[in-house]
């Protein structure tokens, strides 16, 4: 088995960046430590692995959305030169966990050929293994499955409605504060409107892949993975082996967005095939196959009702979502919950209903719930402001929540007012005409300005880390984090270096490997805070041990200083009261006869913090659109966001996260939609040409203002999260700008040419 680098420590033969590093350590805009590997093609993604003797697996997928597979031409597939094996429900080796049994905490039911049933289009119905990719692909095509077809349940009218026990991951389906009907009866002005959001697919550039290699009852998996420890436990259960027998190597993910945090059927089947054939197996889904078994953002139908006093003060806010899930498992977009933390209404009611469709099970997709819910809420707020004859920013400020609505908990920090002010000033919002259809540019295009508020909660996952100070004064820092593009290789190393009082180049950082300490889940925008806190505390532990050695050693210039009186900086401990008295880590270790000091940490959120405070990142997004009055073509021409998310570890990477989120918001507003054929239940645009995501020319010049925010409460390192908040606010800002340009209120996403052309 080829060794996999789990470290980004450079070797002398590697190319050097033709640019100098800009700054170092926490707070500085360091360039990506994995940049050179990524620009030279040497960053290793799962499907780049090619162990000796490896064979290729290709899934055959269902062309119907509901029914059963009556027959397949297995013999034709087997007869194709190069084909080694064909797995179907008839001959699939047993698994040690029932795939229809959900495994806590984030377990999903998976389709692994447990029977001949078809629950959605693109469900795996066979796995063909061959010596080459070409032979496996051809073998899968030769299977020519015949089906007993049942009608597909697609859309609001044919699906089964139900009251869900929960929404999202363990969220309550209904939350109520205050007396909602009293609020409405008190209102001088009311608004009510329905909104629709489509099914969306993550479409990470890297298709889901795995290279599985067994050695007895140990297995090594190269796969992109957002939750290493959790996944190891799940695979161990499926294959009936101890958890320590599963190793996952995931140094780089080619994007995840939530889709690589959840176990899926095709990867399990490939691992099973590798065990059965006693050969390494590679499986990479095709792009089309990613529209089914690997999750998506479920469709929603939302209704918003608001009551206001005549001065715009909210008296009631009612947000209801019908959230679609599959016919066999539950993941419901907690869309209505977006209305809980933001606007100060004395009465708030949010509720959800489920809808079963013949689709693959939805899952968390970048800002799950928040994105869909914010899209509807922020348009509704714009409509409410319009109904009150108020500027949308003035309306938002009128209803600014000084404490968390309903709970009255103080926010750990909330610089939203500054976000509004700085974003508005930068955008020139004060020059916006109140009513729609007032602005045209020199070319006669309709111009509209809109805004939205951004908000995202701050989850914190338990995490572990290890920091080893070495005899030469450098350090090895280890945690099994996941870098899916957000910059964990860089930002987490910055946090570790800071905790150890070392320059970042003195820190060797190992990550992306399941045998390292568990860094928790890379999700919920909580990875930097969660893994970062563990690294901070592990570093602190190592420094504390080092200080003990020094201050208790009469030969040290730090003797007698006491732990409290020592600071770690530049690879030396300094007396706090006399900075000139210092000693290097290497000297302290050498005199103590120690080859190293190992600091460890298991970190988690202080439960008191969550019970006493509301923990959110905030922001404000301002958009300009230009619309051709004859053609209806909509272009976003300016997009400015101002975000406050606690401490910024690396402003360069944080800006990129905000930009990415804002582009996802633009995509939500104007581009993305999986279109299902009502007759067959198949997705008609399961490819990157017809499922539209923004290309470079779709994206205007972007600006992200990083609003400073000190937060000593949210966690000891003051870090919130930046990965998902950019979507929220942006969708509404663009939709509201479309209204402002045209006077047409479009409530179904994505907004299309025909929506603004129609009367």
């Amino acid at each position: 088995m080829s060794p996999e680098p789990s470290s980004l420590q450079r070797t002398p033969s590697e190319p050097k960046a033709a640019i100098s590093r800009y700054g170092s350590n926490a707070g500085q805009p360091l360039t990506r430590r994995d940049g050179i590997l990524k620009v030279t093609g040497r960053a290793t993604y799962a499907a780049d692995n090619h162990p000796e003797g490896m064979v290729f697996a290709v899934t055959a997928v269902s062309r119907i959305a509901r029914g059963r597979v009556r027959s397949m031409n297995i013999e034709a597939a087997r007869a194709h030169p190069g084909v080694i094996e064909v797995l179907t429900s008839a001959n699939r080796p047993p698994l040690f966990h029932d795939p229809d049994e959900k495994m806590p905490p984030f377990g999903f039911r998976v389709e692994v050929l447990q029977d001949d049933g078809v629950r959605y289009a693109n469900q795996p119905i066979a796995l063909v293994i061959a010596e080459t990719l070409e032979a496996a692909t051809e073998g899968a095509a030769l299977l020519d499955p015949q089906y007993d077809v049942e009608p597909a349940r697609v859309g609001l009218d044919t699906g089964l409605r139900f009251d869900p026990p929960g929404v999202g991951v363990g969220g309550a389906p209904m939350t109520a504060f205050g007396d909602i009907e009293a609020g409405f009866s008190k209102a001088a002005i009311t608004m009510e409107a329905d909104y629709e959001t489509p099914p969306q697919y993550h479409n990470a550039m890297e298709p889901h892949a795995v290279v599985a290699e067994w050695d007895g009852d140990h297995v090594v998996l190269d796969m992109p993975n957002q939750a290493l420890a959790l996944s190891c436990a799940t695979y161990a259960a499926f294959f009936g082996i101890p958890v320590e027998n599963v190793t996952i190597r995931s140094p780089f993910l080619g994007g995840g967005f939530g889709s690589k945090a959840i176990i899926n059927g095709p990867q399990i089947l490939a691992i099973l095939a590798a065990r059965m054939l006693k050969r390494p197996v590679k499986l990479a889904l095709t792009r089309a196959q990613m529209y089914g078994p690997v999750g998506h953002r479920g469709q929603t139908w939302q209704r918003l009702r608001m009551g206001m006093e005549s001065d715009g003060q909210l008296t009631a806010l009612h947000h209801r979502s019908i959230s679609a899930t599959s016919a066999f498992d539950d993941f419901l977009e907690p869309a209505a919950n977006a209305s809980l933390p933001l606007y100060a209404s004395p009465a708030i009611l949010v509720e959800h209903e489920g809808l079963r469709l013949d689709t693959g099970t939805p899952g968390p997709m970048r800002a799950p719930g928040e994105a869909s819910g914010s899209a509807a809420l922020e348009v509704a707020i714009d409509e409410a402001a319009e109904a009150c004859g108020m500027d949308p920013l003035e309306f938002r400020l009128k209803n600014y929540a000084e404490t968390e609505p309903g709970t009255n908990k103080p926010f750990s920090s909330k610089a939203l007012r500054t976000c509004y002010a700085e974003g508005a000033a930068r955008f020139g919002w004060s020059r916006r005409p109140l009513s729609a259809g007032q602005m045209r540019d020199d070319d006669g295009l309709l111009v509209g300005w809109g805004m939205g508020t951004a908000v995202f909660h701050c989850p914190h996952f338990p995490a572990e880390a290890r920091a080893t100070l070495r005899a030469d004064g450098t350090a090895l820092v280890e945690t099994g984090a996941a870098d899916m593009g957000q910059g964990a290789w860089t930002a987490l190393a910055q946090i570790a270096a800071e905790a150890l009082g070392l320059d970042i180049d003195e820190v060797e950082f190992h990550s992306g490997l399941s045998t390292l300490p568990d860094a928790g889940i890379a999700g919920g925008s909580g990875h930097t805070a969660s893994a970062g806190l563990a690294l901070n505390q592990a570093g602190g532990d190592a420094i504390a041990q080092l200080s003990d050695l020094a201050v208790n050693d009469p030969a040290s210039p730090l003797f007698g200083a006491g732990n409290i009186g020592v600071t770690a900086r530049g690879g030396r401990l300094h007396r706090r009261d006399d900075e000139d008295r210092s000693e290097s880590y290497a000297e302290i270790l050498a005199r103590a006869g120690r080859s190293d000091i190992v600091g460890t940490a298991k970190s988690a959120r202080d439960p008191d913090v969550a019970s006493t405070h509301a923990l959110y990142s905030h922001g404000a997004v301002f958009a300009e659109v230009k619309i051709d009055p004859d053609l209806g073509q909509i272009r976003t021409t300016r997009l400015i966001g101002a975000f406050a998310a606690g401490r910024v570890i690396n402003p360069r990477l944080v800006q990129s996260q905000y930009f990415g989120g804002m582009i996802w918001g633009l995509s939500f507003a104007l581009h993305e939609e999986a279109v299902t054929d009502k007759r067959t239940g198949r997705i008609m645009n399961a490819d990157l040409a017809e499922y539209h995501v923004p290309v470079n020319a779709d994206v205007p010049p972007l600006e992200a203002i990083l609003v400073p925010e000190d937060d000593a409460i949210v966690n000891p390192i003051g870090v919130k999260g930046v990965g998902e908040i950019g979507i929220t606010g942006t969708v509404g800002a663009i939709a509201n700008a479309v209204w402002h340009a045209t006077g047409k209120r479009v409530r179904k996403f994505p907004i299309r040419i025909e929506d603004v052309l129609s009367a």
Binding site: F252, G255, N696
Partner: protein, 175 residues
């Protein structure tokens, strides 16, 4: 029925025994030559992740049958750096943070190298956005990508002015 083609990859000429006529250039590079820097994002010419230079021109390796390339020259992301010196486009992508997850990055960079050598972009960000739109970046690193292409364009012009023979006409920089 095996047959062989002659293919120059990153400056090195190879006689390649093709085991299968269905093999695309992308799968030849990735699964047979183990040059895995070139990525597969869609396998049907829609995402640009597999962009390489074929005889100096930008192509989607996934849409190109290897068997049709006898006598051709291919440059991949692995052949771009000159020893330990990054190509100016590679350096600019790092400096401008024109990447996040990195999966589309080799294709983005090869497209950028191609369009710069063809002299299409000039100093116009709108032109760059348009010309780079065959390469999808789902992370949304477009602003950095655009900036990187412009900066690399400047760096390459300066380099060409200083030493006119420095960069080959087709933008390949492989030894």
């Amino acid at each position: 029925m095996p047959f062989s083609i002659s293919l120059t990859v990153n400056g090195q000429s190879n006689s390649i025994a093709l085991d299968d006529p269905r093999v695309t250039l992308l799968d030849l590079l990735r699964e047979r030559l183990h040059l895995t820097g070139t990525k597969k994002g869609c396998d049907r010419g829609q995402c640009g992740a597999c962009t390489v230079l074929l005889d100096g021109r930008r192509i989607n390796a996934c849409l190109t049958l290897a068997a049709s390339l006898d006598g051709s020259t291919v440059t991949t992301i692995e052949g771009l750096a000159d020893g330990t010196e990054l190509h100016p486009v590679q350096a600019a992508f790092i400096a401008c943070d024109g990447l996040q997850c990195g999966y589309c990055t080799p294709g983005q960079i090869m497209s950028a190298v191609g369009l710069l050598s063809e002299g299409h972009a000039g100093n116009d960000p709108e032109r760059v956005r348009e010309l780079m739109s065959g390469n999808i970046c789902r992370c949304g690193a477009y602003q950095g990508i655009t900036q990187a292409v412009l900066e690399a364009g400047h760096a390459l012009s300066a380099k060409n002015d200083a030493q006119p023979a420095g960069v080959p006409e087709d933008g390949r920089n492989a030894a």
